[in-house]
């Protein structure tokens, strides 16, 4: 049940990001002037009949955020009680801290009239939170615990592809940087600073510049960089690891999402920021990020096993007898080569 719940929390976080994108895209960020109350009502008591105009987007975002916050509280507690791996439990607490900070940033940005720095930080932390919930969902999944094909085909045959590991890390980091630039573009009103696409004022390089044009153009350069990196990473997977479904699937998904993202970006510019498309561009960007993250984590699968073999025995308590016995076996060398971070193969 825990893996299923973790996946549900991750999916809820994606919905929350979409709702946040709608708030920005519709310019509704200040339609509810108070926080945490809504026009003086306790948030959950605000009448649905009064959710009109921009209030609909802003208040819905707050309700979804509260729900996701509650789900993450449950997830953190659940992980704390049931998860034997300390680093996974810590991920849960980290996600809880992130969602609390995210709520505070959301409140501050309303009360301080959407200062760019706070709004951009709010948007950027949302992506971190999404990465955390997806990571938790991934590492609690049965596939991760089995160690994928590595357990069946030998512990170090595939996992030690250092080029793929580096490419995947670089791709994920650059995608996140690209999202930061995108958030800066959204919150500084630079989304239409360059009105044409794919050229810029009819040129490859804009013939004139100001701060908004620079931010917008940086986002386009970032998109080109991300495209090259995703092409390199997925190409590497298809060429060298075509039989490994756990790498092939995110690679295919990454390419599909990339094409969709560029299309949404183009429509956003050429269509003068239709709010639904604009918001889909935001949430799809987040999906590109977490898909790249999944590829990165799976490419580093063996390293997690190594860390776990080193630390797990001392961290296990009496409450996790199965893991403890596996740890004992690991200590005695029975499963020395296994890549499962519990200390042995669990398939």
């Amino acid at each position: 049940m825990l893996p299923l719940f973790a996946a549900f929390v991750a999916a809820s976080t994606a919905v929350l990001i979409f709702a946040g994108g709608l708030v920005t895209s519709t310019g509704s960020g200040l339609s509810v002037p108070d926080w945490p109350n809504t026009y003086g009502w306790f948030m959950f008591a605000f009448p649905t009949s009064k959710m009109v105009g921009g209030i609909f987007y802003e208040h819905t975002h707050r309700l979804i955020a509260s729900t996701v916050g509650f789900l993450i509280v449950v997830l953190a507690v659940w992980l704390g009680r049931a998860e034997p791996r300390p680093w996974v439990r810590r991920l849960g607490y980290l996600a809880l801290g992130a969602v609390i900070l995210q709520g505070i940033l959301g409140g501050i940005t309303v009360l301080w009239y959407l200062p760019d720095a706070i709004s951009i930080a709010h948007a950027s932390l949302a992506q971190i939170l999404f990465c955390l919930t997806v990571t938790i969902a991934l590492v609690t999944s049965s596939g991760w615990k089995r160690g994928y094909t590595a357990d069946r085909q030998g512990p170090r045959r595939f996992d030690e592809d250092e080029l793929l590991q580096r490419l995947a890390i670089a791709t994920t980091v650059v995608i996140y940087a690209q999202i930061l630039i995108g958030a800066t573009m959204r919150h500084t009103g630079a989304g239409l600073a360059i009105p044409d696409f794919p050229l810029s004022f009819g040129h490859v390089i804009p013939p004139y510049w100001d701060s908004k044009i620079a931010i917008h153009f940086a986002h386009r350069v970032g998109a080109a960089t991300v495209t090259v990196l995703i092409g390199a990473a997925t190409g590497h997977v298809f060429f060298h690891h075509a039989r490994r479904a756990e790498l092939r699937r995110p690679a295919i998904l990454l390419l599909v999402l990339l094409v969709l993202q560029i299309t949404l970006g183009a429509i956003t510019v050429l269509g003068h920021k239709p709010f639904i498309i604009n918001s889909l561009h935001v949430v799809n960007g987040a999906l590109v990020l977490v898909t790249s993250l999944v590829l990165t984590l799976r490419a580093h699968r063996s390293r997690f096993a190594h860390v776990a073999r080193t630390f797990l025995p001392d961290d296990l308590s009496d409450e996790v007898p199965r893991a403890k016995s596996e740890a004992r076996r690991a200590k005695s060398g029975e499963t020395r080569d296994a890549t499962n971070e519990y200390g042995g193969a669990r398939a």
């Binding site: 200040l30 339609s31 002037p33 109350n37 003086g40 921009g54 300390p86 809880l96 969602v99």
Partner: protein
């Protein structure tokens, strides 16, 4: 030990989350009441027997854009209360007469000081739009903002020189009073609930301002003899200035013409 610290950190985090979720008493933004206690500045003496006037008309040259219908479907009340609402950006009447132009004395009054009137300037939210669309007010003079609609509005003043504010008016008949502390031409007002709702407020130290009506005319009365810079401001077409010199009891006619793009 690690397990204990995990539980402890979990408990602290949960407590913080619950505190965050349950805390109420939100900071419902409200603006300061009109300041009445401040010492009124001593006005430089103006002899009413010698004052003159500047009057004139603002016209538009070219083909004015037709007012566009506003889609009000995001709020059923607005749709029923004011279904024919159109944009007020460019109000051009017969013979090119331009309404909603803020005309004021930009320069020429020297260091004269003017006491702020105590009677408030009214800004109404009625039929899901601001009435009037453009107003002038003096520094320290109360601006009374009313919600005459049976729906929620937020009053968001996006001031730069003055303090930005954002206050909710969820109930019909609610009133609030706001005062400005310094000159600012213009302060944009908007309702973030209803994205089409906006208004403009010109804040001045003196009373020599006027907003053109449907006939495009304006009048600046009671000016002491002198040379003045008169500026006409329009929300879309920008500003124009003219120099004018008036003598004692003289009335000068000044015209402004804005051209279409």
């Amino acid at each position: 030990m690690s397990r204990i610290s995990d539980r402890l950190s979990c408990a602290v985090a949960c407590a913080a989350a619950m505190l965050l979720i349950s805390c109420g008493g939100g900071a419902n933004e409200s603006t300061a009441p009109a300041s009445s206690g401040a010492a009124a500045p001593a006005a430089a003496p103006i002899d009413p027997e010698t004052t003159g006037n500047v009057s004139g008309k603002v016209t538009f040259e070219g083909t004015p854009p037709a007012p566009q219908p506003i889609k009000l479907s995001s709020d059923p009340y607005c749709e029923s209360a004011n279904s024919g609402l159109t944009t007020e950006t460019q109000m051009v009447g017969a013979n090119g007469a331009m309404g909603n132009v803020f005309v004021y004395v930009k320069d020429g009054l020297g260091n004269r000081k003017f006491a702020a009137p105590s009677e408030p300037i009214m800004l109404d939210q009625k039929g899901c739009h601001y009435t009037p669309h453009v107003i002038g007010i003096q520094v320290g003079q109360p601006l009374q903002i009313i919600n005459s609609d049976n729906t929620l509005h937020n009053v968001h003043g996006l001031a730069k020189a003055n303090k930005e504010f954002n206050a909710g008016q969820p109930i019909q008949g609610m009133k609030m009073t706001h005062t400005f502390s310094t000159t600012e031409v213009m302060v944009p007002f908007k309702c973030d609930v209803h994205s089409w709702m906006n208004a403009w407020v010109g804040v001045l130290e003196h009373p020599y301002y006027s907003v053109t009506g449907a006939d495009g005319t304006f009048s600046l009365k009671g000016l002491p003899p002198g040379t003045y810079t008169i500026e006409a401001w329009h929300e879309k077409l920008g500003t124009q200035t003219q120099m004018v010199t008036i003598g004692a009891k003289e009335t000068k006619d000044v015209g402004f013409t804005f051209k279409g793009a």
